[in-house]
């Protein structure tokens, strides 16, 4: 039982089966509920957590079909999930088997679920919530477009046992809906109340009336809902994420926990995917591997490649990196019962003779192209921002003159580096202030202290005067003109120093160390 603050104090939001049997229902003030059931256990409602749990459950349901979407929480504390099973039911042996597997597994996880299959999302929604067990029983093999709305709630389904399956044969949703209350049309409470006052209680009552008068009286919403339920108006289910191009799944008869087994299954899935990709002349750019665990948790890893790839061995190496980083399962409950490989992005990849390419490459191709596999693995573990190529940028400001460019697929342009002046091998990310002693104005210092060490300067080159780029609007560092000197200390170490700002009498000049020469 969950409670939430209503208009007049706390009210029940959801009740479980036992409480419902005791006469409690959502919307009842908590005080009344306590009077009816003195032993009532109450928890405060948290719609946000419910939403989150529902989204997680929807992602768990994606093992049945890529198109799943939560249909939202309802006033009575129940909630539902849409699954578009078009073309997916045969994988499970038919609609009835799919529903049976779905509800049985949900029940195992402690959810009271009712599921229904119909041609339209609206009809499935209605049957899952208001259907009767005796209405439909036969599964139908041929169906154009199937939708199932699976309802998981903390309420007992009205009257029936929780293992109830509703399958509306194709094209018969009108008959199936006629006997149902109008609330089955996904109308608001206000709309239902208004219809009820007019004596319109069943869907059949509405169907008997002319459409034009319904629209005139109740607005377009009612007709829209009716049409959606009956299939006169198409209603797509917007999936949580774009459905993948290719999916490969593997169910384990016995849930597995060992990482070796998961890796082996991944290898087989990748091999199957590779064969399919080869036929299609495509290579994978983005793959997701979902691990469905017994406790309805779904872990997934994402594998991105810098160029289309369908080499199972290479992809497996990428996957292994990520799989190793998944948290270690705590208990047998987190064992994996299903693995699903979804390839979300592919690109054209012509047939190549793998294995010989390294020798066949002409010698001029010394770019990083041959490192694609290595780069992918490095990016997979360290992140794309940490695997870079240094590129010149047209700027005379030292810190802007180079850009660290993430390695991507495509042409590597060997841009020439301008070499007008001596530049250090290492440039400190930020110039570090030093205390310097420069006895002669406008001259390099004779000694300076950096990182607590004292350096005596034996020789210096410079200055090289660099001014701020006035044409760039932002000047974040409050930069002034810098006079750069290349100095060498008595031991022969070479540094790149600059004085911040022009020399002014009476103003202590600020010195910075910006780089290290070899």
């Amino acid at each position: 039982m969950e409670t939430g603050a209503g208009h007049n104090g706390l009210r029940l939001v959801a009740v479980n089966a036992a409480a419902a049997a005791g006469g409690l229902r959502p919307g009842l003030p908590l005080a009344d509920a306590r009077a009816l059931e003195p032993t009532l256990r109450v928890m405060s409602a948290s719609p946000l957590d419910d939403q989150r749990a529902l989204a997680a459950l929807a992602s768990w349901c994606s093992q049945y079909s890529p198109w799943t979407a939560p249909s939202g929480l309802e006033a009575d504390g129940s909630a539902g999930i849409w699954i578009d099973i078009t073309g997916c039911d045969h994988l499970f042996g038919g609609e009835a088997e799919l529903l049976a597997s779905l509800t049985a597994r949900l029940r195992r996880h402690g959810y009271t679920a009712r599921a229904a299959v119909a041609d339209t999302p609206g009809a499935a929604w209605a049957i899952a919530r208001f259907g009767h067990p005796h209405t439909f029983s036969r599964p139908h093999p041929s169906r154009g477009r199937n939708n199932t709305s699976e309802k998981s709630d903390s309420l007992p389904p009205r009257g029936e046992g929780s293992g109830w399956l509703g399958i509306v044969p194709p094209g018969t949703q009108t008959q199936a809906l006629t006997t149902l209350p109008i609330a089955a049309l996904r109308l608001t409470a206000a709309q239902c109340e208004e219809l009820d006052r007019l004596g319109l209680r069943r869907v059949a009552d509405l169907l008997a009336l002319p459409r034009s008068s319904l629209t005139a009286r109740f607005g377009g919403e009612l007709i829209r809902r009716l049409d959606q339920a009956l299939g006169d108006l198409d209603e797509p289910i917007s999936p949580r994420e774009p459905p993948p191009h290719l999916r490969f799944r593997m169910n384990f008869p016995e849930a597995v926990g060992r990482s070796e087994d998961i890796l082996e299954a991944t290898k087989r899935l990748l091999t199957a995917a590779s064969a399919k990709l080869e036929i299609l002349g495509q290579g994978a750019r983005l793959l997701k591997l979902y691990l469905y665990r017994l406790d309805t948790d779904v872990d997934y890893i994402t594998i991105g490649t810098s160029r289309p790839n369908r080499d199972p061995a290479q992809l497996l190496r990428l996957a292994r990196e990520k799989l190793d980083r998944l948290p270690v399962p705590k208990s047998i409950e987190s064992n994996v019962e299903t693995i699903l490989l979804a390839i979300s992005r592919t690109e054209k990849l012509d047939l190549t003779q793998t294995g010989l390419t390294a020798d066949c490459q002409h010698k001029t191709a010394t770019s990083l192209d041959s490192l694609a596999g290595l780069a992918d693995r490095l990016i997979g573990r360290l992140g794309p921002e940490n695997v870079v190529r240094l590129q010149p940028r047209e700027s005379h400001l030292p810190e802007r003159a180079q850009i660290a460019e993430p390695v991507r697929a495509g042409q590597m342009v060997a841009a020439p580096w301008p070499l007008p002046r001596p530049r250090p091998l290492r440039l400190l990310p930020r110039p570090e202030p030093i205390s310097a002693m420069a006895p002669v104005p406008d001259d390099p210092p004779v000694l300076f202290r950096w990182r607590r060490r004292l350096f005596h300067i034996a020789g210096a080159d410079g200055p090289e005067r660099l001014s701020p780029e006035w044409w760039r609007p932002a000047n974040p560092l409050g930069m002034e003109t810098r006079d750069y000197y290349r100095v060498e200390d008595r031991k022969g170490q070479r540094f790149w120093l600059f004085r911040h700002g022009l020399y002014r009498t009476g103003v202590e000049p600020q010195w910075f160390l910006h780089g290290l020469f070899g």
Binding site: L374, V387, L390, P398, Q402, L428, G459, K491, L516
Partner: protein, 246 residues
């Protein structure tokens, strides 16, 4: 084959370092004096070489070797670093082709070792530079095996070498006074005191090297007395400084 060479080969074989296999795959350093001294007539590929010392000097030596290796082997290189300080314009001044260089950044020592091992083993990488602070015997052995598997030149760049490692050579690089600071207090061509501290099957030795713009690489620094009267490669800036000082 002369007897000493044969004997040297035999010793190397006993030490698990087969010269005959690597003779062809050793990389000339471009400095004849060093090449002659090394038993492989260059730096052997498929091995780990340790370079340590004053950080920026070691970086410079490493960059020069890498640039040369890139040119000779025409294979891409990987530089694994623990700081964001590598600076393209400076590296390019050492004739290093940056379009063939993959820079990998990581703060974690474990990740650096992992990345180095992956890159060394890859086979398509010519040279791997890894900035490794802590290289113990096990880690260096692993890297050595990876380098052998990929026939990659591995350069371990370290601030200081404390522990023993399985590297084939160990070099200590210190900055040295630049060529000429007389008569004015200016900076001349960069110089380094290069010390071969350890060399399997060879003897330690040290050299004074200098960057030569004309040759585009490292050369043996000649003592002042043997130099031509005035350097031909003086940059405009240096000349200006001279004039100012004069």
């Amino acid at each position: 084959m002369p007897v000493p060479a044969k004997l040297r080969q035999e010793i190397a074989r006993l030490e698990g370092l087969d010269c005959r296999a690597r003779d062809k795959l050793s990389l000339s350093t471009g400095i004849p004096a060093i090449d002659e001294h090394l038993p492989w007539h260059g730096l052997p590929v498929g091995c780990i070489h340790e370079i340590h010392g004053d950080n920026s000097a070691a970086t410079a030596f490493c960059t020069a070797l890498l640039a040369r290796a890139n040119r000779l082997r025409s294979q891409p290189a990987v530089w694994i670093t623990d700081e964001e300080a590598l600076y393209g314009p400076g590296l390019a001044a050492f004739n290093l082709s940056l379009s063939d260089l993959l820079v990998v950044l990581s703060r974690s020592a474990t990740d650096i070792l992992w990345a180095a091992e992956e890159a060394l083993r890859e086979g398509t990488v010519g040279t791997v530079v890894a900035e490794i602070t802590d290289l113990d015997l096990t880690a260096s052995r692993r890297l050595q095996l990876a380098a052998e598997a990929g026939m990659t030149l591995g350069l371990a760049l370290r601030p200081a070498s404390k522990s023993t490692s399985a590297s084939v050579t160990r070099w200590r690089i210190e900055s040295a006074h630049s060529g000429f600071s007389f008569p004015s207090r200016t900076v001349g061509p960069q110089r380094w005191a290069v010390q071969l501290e350890r060399c399997r099957g060879g003897q330690p030795k040290s050299w004074l090297l200098e960057w030569c713009d004309a040759a585009g690489g490292l050369t043996l620094a000649t003592p002042l007395s043997d130099r031509p009267a005035l350097p031909a490669t003086g940059s405009g800036m240096r000349a200006a400084s001279l004039a100012r000082a004069g």
